[in-house]
Symmetry: C2
Subunit: 415 residues, 2 copies
């Protein structure tokens, strides 16, 4: 079971979490709980580090920010004991959860489960702080923001858990954002690959890394709401969304398209009149890659008669200023004429493992958007996804018409 910062924000909520854990224990399950810091606490601690030095040592940053989860894991253990559930906390260095030494953004390696297994066998609930681990040389590491989901999946994998239940602010994964489409449907099951595409294009239910890890380790992940009250049914009967391997999806369940995602956090950059010669594209994207900037959609127009070409691509909005800086410095090397950028764009994606065996998914998308006069500025596709870049103002309209076009609308509006 994994609980986020909102569920841990204050002792009253921690008591609610304890009650929920108790019900799982009483149902005969052995339980390990991974917890986040109290909502707002990590921001407070990160703020201290930044105030102390803009160029803070990431090793010391990890010492500071890992304390938030340390506090909540101790408190949940106390709250569990208070209602008669034997429990103890296990800090990252105590298990240990071995990680790389990439401080502040470490990767989990192996997790020693010997002590943990023995503790569960004694009937104790293990409370494990998310987001933290330990690197060689016994130094505390953290996994980067949102890393607690990854901790939960990694612990579930190491323990060969039957299930990894992730309690969040939402009660499952929907065919699209219900705030845009009231008739969005909650998905009973979704595959890892679909979830990865849905998460990485803006369906912010789970951290992308955690889904990738779940896929690699074949951990069944259930997304559940932490706000269904104390008298809610047991987790395994709650109507959340189960994230599973493709083989678990039956033919009856299989849809052509699973969901529609949108992402307004991309910015478009166009380099006009880049010399159309070998190495030109490398001279554009090499410096961006060196600066650690992820380029997403790329469109290269056909060459002008002048022997030059326009190159258009997207970067995360947060990296736009840095990207312009990098490209400005490389102007002579690249040899472009003009650089223009646009943050008023949105990426709309249709996602589904079903499209592997069906042609026509992309064409339905282009036709549907075209009929509404929505201009497509760029296109990317993967095996299970088609994404287009459009003007930001059309985001909601595009999502709604596509949701209907692919037959995803529920018969009644969600509550």
């Amino acid at each position: 079971m994994k609980f986020g910062g909102t569920s841990m924000a204050g002792i009253e909520r921690i008591r609610t979490v304890a009650a929920r854990v108790k019900r799982e224990v009483e149902a005969g399950n052995q339980v390990a709980v991974v917890v986040s810091a109290m909502a707002g606490e990590t921001d407070r601690l990160v703020g201290f580090c930044r105030e102390a030095s803009a160029l803070y040592d990431p090793r010391e940053y990890d010492v500071v920010v890992s304390s938030g989860e340390q506090v909540t894991s101790g408190l949940l253990a106390i709250a569990l004991q208070a209602i008669g559930v034997p429990a103890r906390s296990w800090l990252g260095w105590q298990l240990p959860i071995h990680t790389s030494d990439a401080f502040s953004r470490a990767r989990i390696g192996t997790i020693d489960t010997e002590a943990l297994d023995a503790s569960l066998a004694r009937g104790e609930v293990a409370v494990i702080p998310g987001f933290q681990g330990v690197a060689e040389g016994d130094r505390i590491t953290t996994l980067g923001r949102g890393g607690s989901d990854t901790s939960a999946v990694a612990v579930a994998a190491a323990m060969k858990a039957e299930r990894c239940d992730i309690y969040t602010d939402v009660d499952g994964v929907y065919t699209t954002d219900p705030r845009i489409v009231p008739r969005a449907r909650k998905l009973a099951r979704v595959t890892y690959e679909e979830m990865l595409e849905l998460a990485s294009v803006g369906a912010k239910v789970l951290q992308t890394r955690s889904v990738g890890l779940a896929m690699k380790e074949n951990v069944r992940v259930q997304v559940l709401s932490s706000f269904t009250g104390d008298d809610a049914p047991m987790a395994d009967t709650l109507p959340g969304t189960m994230i599973v391997g493709e083989e678990e999806i039956t033919d009856v369940e299989r849809q052509l398209i699973t969901g529609i995602a949108h992402d307004k956090n991309e910015a478009k950059i166009t380099l006009a009149a880049v010399p159309d010669k070998p190495g030109a594209v490398a001279s554009v994207f090499g410096p961006l890659a060196e600066a650690g900037i992820n380029v997403d959609m790329i469109v290269q127009n056909i060459a002008h008669s002048t022997g030059s070409t326009d190159v258009t691509f997207t970067v995360p909005s947060a990296d736009l200023a840095r990207s312009l800086d990098v490209l400005g410095q490389a102007k002579a090397t690249i040899g472009y004429d003009k650089l223009v950028h646009d943050t008023r764009v949105a990426k709309i994606s249709v996602v589904g493992v079903g499209m592997r065996s069906h042609a026509g998914v992309a064409s339905t998308m282009f036709t549907t958007l075209g009929e509404r006069g929505i201009n497509i500025q760029a296109i990317t596709t993967s095996e299970i996804k088609v994404s287009v870049l459009i003007e930001e103002d059309y985001t909601e309209l595009a999502v709604r018409v596509l949701h209907t076009a692919y037959g995803l609308d529920a018969e009644v509006e969600a509550a």
Copy 2:
């Protein structure tokens, strides 16, 4: 160097601490710094534990409350690096600082200094969270409130440090409370024994345990003000108070009386008409000892002609309710007639190693108080201390007249 919670309350103050540490480094010293949590933070964390359960597991309590010092040690390391001083934090479990497994009130055993010594030899400042250690089985412990002074002395002892500088809210140890006697003098030196007596009777400069440890390990402790500003002279020239062994006090410095302490936190209990027979006293103090209540001053009146006696003693005010409860339950066993108590009492103590070789100290005290009409309710003495119990309202008067009587008044008032 040890800095308390007020010195660590916020990044600006942590920067001031870093600047002070830097000056010591630039003076050619190798420095380990022991830090407290930010002022108020430990109270916040203790509050969480109490709210989670009145009967919290002290092992989990230690996980929670130790995080306060973890945060400040990381932040001070960052602040030091920011001004060009190589530094790293060493948590209790990293050194490690071995302690007993008396969670929430553990005792320091040994401290491994191999890694620490190597770090200092590389020119790094070691930043060590106070108040915490690790017990067998790799579980975090804390030393009880105010334990950071003890951590500092223990680290200084383990490292064979030349000096342990404790920065506090006061700028040294005075002959008495300057708020009561404006002509109180700051002591340049005081012996461990005197400091122990002064601290345990209410001169709240250092935690008593830390002074006892300093005496046992022969650590030279200097008490300094942390509020003398950034441009203050180097610590070793600041006019703080040095706490040393008696052999370091020269004959010229040696005073008959070093200081006058007062303590309003005791309560007086009188059991009237206790049977005057063997075992009666044991039946009074046995149950109190079992309840962990420290009885201080004891006066047993001469037996009444009825074959009974009155027993008067003091306990810490905080333990009064529990003491009355214990004694109430033991009434039949003890066989006393009446139980009365009084919290409006104060203990006044004159302290000084010089009194070992001088008679007449106690008699001066009794005469001086008697001349002012101050009634003495109980007396205890040790080799270097005479204490009397008086009515609380006379506390300030008693301290002032004794300060003058023993020739302690400075020629001018302190600033």
